[in-house]
Subunit: 100 residues, 2 copies
């Protein structure tokens, strides 16, 4: 269990998610942020991670981990549906310790 | 540079890609297979990796690595377009060495 901030990707405007990730690192000073998505939003999660990490936060964050998985749930017809998931964790790059 | 087999995900029927991955491990005896996709096919690449690795090859392969990145190219209007990429590598689980 962790208090690590998580951004769930859905169908809001793309930049909302990029901004949310960037803000966690800048305004909230989070050491790491995890971007999560299911199904068709997986591509978008990768886009958000790339734009936030390599454009807005270039040199400040690095890719810590990517995990994939599956979730199963019952649809209206009581049929089991499987959906893929992704979790992309970006991590703040530690600043070099100051030497006197 | 490596001879590691690579499956590029596009818009052929889903099971074609799953079969291609499974065949590399079974018929071709590949030690590892990398599933690659760009843009909207990224979600599909995750689906293929999950279905091939966890259903068809369960207990025989494991997730070795996932990489994400970006590629830039010029469209017809000479505008630079950025597209995200993914590379998912599945690896054969080493069988325990036989002891006499």
């Amino acid at each position: 269990m962790t208090d690590e901030p998580t951004i769930f990707i859905g169908n809001k405007p793309f930049m909302n998610y990029v901004t949310a990730v960037v803000m966690q690192f800048t305004a909230r000073n989070a050491p790491s942020v995890t971007i999560r998505a299911r199904g068709k939003f997986i591509t978008r999660a990768v886009d958000v991670a790339e734009v936030a990490g390599k454009r807005f936060l270039e040199g400040n964050v690095t890719l810590k981990n990517i995990g994939i998985g599956s979730e199963a749930f019952q649809n209206e017809d009581n049929k089991t549906i499987r959906v893929s998931t992704i979790a992309i964790t970006l991590e703040r790059i530690k600043e070099p310790e100051q030497t006197l």
